[in-house]
């Protein structure tokens, strides 16, 4: 019975909160560029502690009236005055901060996108305990000294690959006494690409039957052939760090053998019944190939990415995998 009631109240509460957020969003629109958190969009409500405090003060008022005790009145009125004043202090501490939204670097599905928000305090008073709550529900707080900037993060959990919009986040503060919480909703317009989550194992049997024939062991350290001068674009893993450490100029290792040609990863080689699994396995291959410092290319149907190596190339491949099939 009580559980059912609590569930009912909980659902209503969530619905009400959602409605409030939608209303706030309609009211203030999207946030782009430099956003000043104007007083109009800072909302404030007492916390549970604040309500307890109000009850405390009320009981004290009853006691003071009952005993008609002047100094007890003084204490009670002090508490009431503190409560009212602190409401304004809490609101003031948050209002008029300026926010700038940074991006988030891509992550694999299942990881958290970390959005950066810069908080500027243009005023000549320090602001304390300014907290940002991302869609993961974790509050992260920071102090922003007068005329300074602080960096906050909003973490956003991801589930699937693709281009995702930045979730709205909540900036809030309970400073100084925690009796009230002032908050504002931020609706940033950032977006980021979430890569497919790499499969646990790569299906090596299907691996890249490129031009030089099948090779499930594409490169071995034993195939080391010698050194040549470094050329821009050479993978970090191929750089001969030993020689560099000896004070020599930058060299790249050259590997000989059948695996030395570029690898091709093709969606067509994967199991067509589960496209998501296929993309996930391709991701694993790309990640592994990148780690090994290989040169590889990617074919996703009509889309072809020519073989290359390096972080930029890897990100290009992963981005392509992430948005594959996405009409956007």
């Amino acid at each position: 019975m009580i559980v059912a009631l609590r569930g009912f109240i909980g659902r209503r509460q969530t619905q009400a909160q959602e409605a409030a957020r939608r209303w706030a969003r309609r009211r203030q629109g999207d946030d782009r560029g430099l956003v000043e958190l104007s007083s109009r969009r800072v909302y404030i409500l007492p916390t549970l502690i604040g309500v307890t405090f109000a009850i405390t003060a009320f009981v004290m008022l009853l006691g003071s009236m009952n005993y008609n005790n002047s100094l007890a009145f003084a204490l009670t009125f002090s508490l009431a005055a503190i409560g009212l004043v602190v409401m304004h202090h809490t609101h003031g501490n948050l209002a008029k901060v300026r926010l700038r939204f940074g991006g988030a670097t891509s992550v694999f599905a299942g990881e958290k996108l970390i959005w950066t928000v810069f908080v500027d305090n243009p005023s000549s008073l320090n602001r304390y305990d300014i907290a940002l709550t991302g869609s993961d529900g974790v509050r992260r707080s920071v102090d922003v000294p007068a005329q300074a900037t602080a960096r906050l993060e909003a973490h956003q959990p991801t589930l699937t690959r693709g281009r995702v919009q930045q979730d709205r986040c909540r900036i809030s503060s309970g400073f100084p006494l925690g009796l009230f919480v002032a908050w504002g909703w931020l609706n940033p317009i950032g977006s980021a690409i979430v890569w497919p989550s790499p499969a646990a194992t790569a299906p090596d049997s299907r691996l890249a039957p490129g031009d030089e024939g099948s090779n499930d062991h594409p490169i071995g350290d034993d195939d080391f052939a010698g050194l040549r001068d470094y050329q821009p674009g050479d993978a970090l893993a191929k750089i001969a760090w030993h020689t560099l450490a000896r004070g020599d100029t930058l060299h790249s290792k050259v590997f000989l053998g059948s695996g030395s040609g570029p690898k091709w990863f093709d969606l067509a080689d994967m199991d067509p019944t589960d496209i998501e699994l296929a993309l996930s396995q391709l991701t694993r291959l790309v990640v592994d190939a990148h780690t090994a410092g290989l040169s590889y290319g990617l074919r996703l149907g009509a889309q072809v990415i020519a073989p290359a190596s390096g972080t930029t190339h890897r990100n290009l491949c992963l981005d392509a995998l992430a948005v594959f099939g996405d009409p956007r």
């Binding site: 503190i82 609101h91 209002a95 602001r127 309970g174």
Partner: protein, 666 residues
Amino acid sequence: MKWLRGKATSGELETPLVWATTALAVCFAPHVLHFPFWITAATVAAGVWRFTAERRRWHLPPLWLRALLVFAALLGVLALYAGINGVVPGTALLALMAALKILESNQRRDLHVVLFIALFLALSSLLREQALWSLPYLAIALFACLVAWQQVAREGNPLPVSTVTHGASRIARHAAPLLIAFWILFPRVPGAFWAVPTQGEGASTGISDRIEPGSIAALIASDAVAFRVEFTGALPPLREMYWRGPVMEAVVGRAWQVSDFPPMNRRDNEVSYDGQPYRYRMTLQPTGQRWLFGLDVPETWNHPNAKMSPTQQLMVRQPIDQRVVMELRSYTEFTIGGELSARTRKRLTYLPGGSNPKTRELATTLRDASTDEDDFVRQVLALFANGDFVYTLEPPPLGLNSMDEFLFATRAGFCEHYASAFATLMRAGGVPARLIGGYQGGEINPLGDYLIVRQSDAHAWVEIWAQERGWVRIDPTAAVSSVRLESGLDAALRSSGQAGVGRWLDFDWLTQAGFTWDALNARWDEWVLGYGPETQQRFMRWLGMDDPHWEKLAMALGIATALILAAIALRLARQYAKPRADEARRVFERVIRRLKVSLAPHETAPVAADKIGARYPTLEAEAARFVERYQAIRYAGDDSIDTLRREATALITAARSAPATVTTPH
């Protein structure tokens, strides 16, 4: 052994814990002397243990242990006070709960609760005592709580001490105007909602409802103020100042006491007034008794709950545990007449059978020897005046037949001895008599122009029912020591060769200091502690509000609160806004504009000085000084912006009358 351990500690609460316990200690301090030692010890132990636990990362006590401790605390308080109702046991329980809350605190929320309990402890210390130092104490306690509170509510690393003290004083500064508005305007209502439990030990002070040999002498040693009186207009002479209190008509054993059930249908209470009325305002200290005092006999009074009893006592329904401020009008010339019914006469001539046989015999002898009642009274008074009776503060103790012993053996006594002996003799002689308790005289404080009546002015006198005249006051003490009434107790004791009670200090400056201190206390009592419904009404009328009932007050309070909050919001909005463009720059630009000097964007401030000098040759030196200061402020961190403003104004004013050279366009 999981059941042996409670929640783990993380060390994060260390700073908030220290602050919260400090605030609790400040709020606890006034109780230390009133609590048994073990309560203080338990609280201190809890604080120290909890702090060490946080330091050493010990586990907190498990639930069963905490439940056991709560039970033990409850039991301890019950054993100590035989109940948990009332302020004193409630406070003791509160203190122990604070200790237990500290013990189990493992979240910031718990420490908030500790602070709330601390505030309750501060409140209950005010219920017990409201001295002059209570207000500064309250301010300190609140400040300590505010500082601790910020640390408890803090999410990040603990703030530096200077930051939290600044924060607390900022909150206090902003809250002060609101507090004053609330204090003055919050509608005060008379009376209590629920019966106030008496405040434990020694609740009632001053004259009690029962007088027996020695009971007033015990009061005399006290210098405490009973009430203060401020007369508007003439003061009655000191010897006519009888402050009427309880009227004792019942004799029980050795004692005279107020009848539990005074018969209401009496007709011996028709008062007629004569002579001039005296108007005065009285600030009565709480007595814990149900009667008020008034100059014998009050005609009107403005206490809402006070009623005149058939025996001319001003009675209230509930014991007086707060200061009472009221205005009265009294006549010192009056008659209380009417008719004494046979039943009442019988009651008022009653003496316990078998007691004081010698006294009764003496009364009969005297009554038989006298021609009428008046003569009887005269003879008894003459007995006191001539019978080598001594007026002393330390009379020898008396036994069961106290009046016999006093009249025939010891012959040394204080006012209650003489009063009760006189009344007993009267009753034994067939004259209805009753004992009145109260105060006699007082001390004028020249600094405050009011009368201080202390416990040491406690007095007892007698009223007898005289045919034709009704109730007549007779003060037998006057027959023994008339000095007592003329110039007070101290002089009376000195004239009888005894040491005074020490109130009349020999040093003038000490007397002066004493008067100053009392004048301060009087203002405090009247305007702060006595600020109740009556004082509020008076103050509001003085401010110009006619008919200040609670709706008007509530409205005024609402308006004042809104205005103050708006001012605070405005101030905060300005403080938290981006500062306006550099103030010095604005002043500088105003001077350039008003002196009609054109300055190109690439031209520096010294160029402006040169240009001003060229345009107004007489102002050259002034302009150079102004520009120098401007640069010092902008680039060298000088902060004499006000001087810069003054100089700018001077420059602009001077330029108006200075000869200007007309610059020709190139």
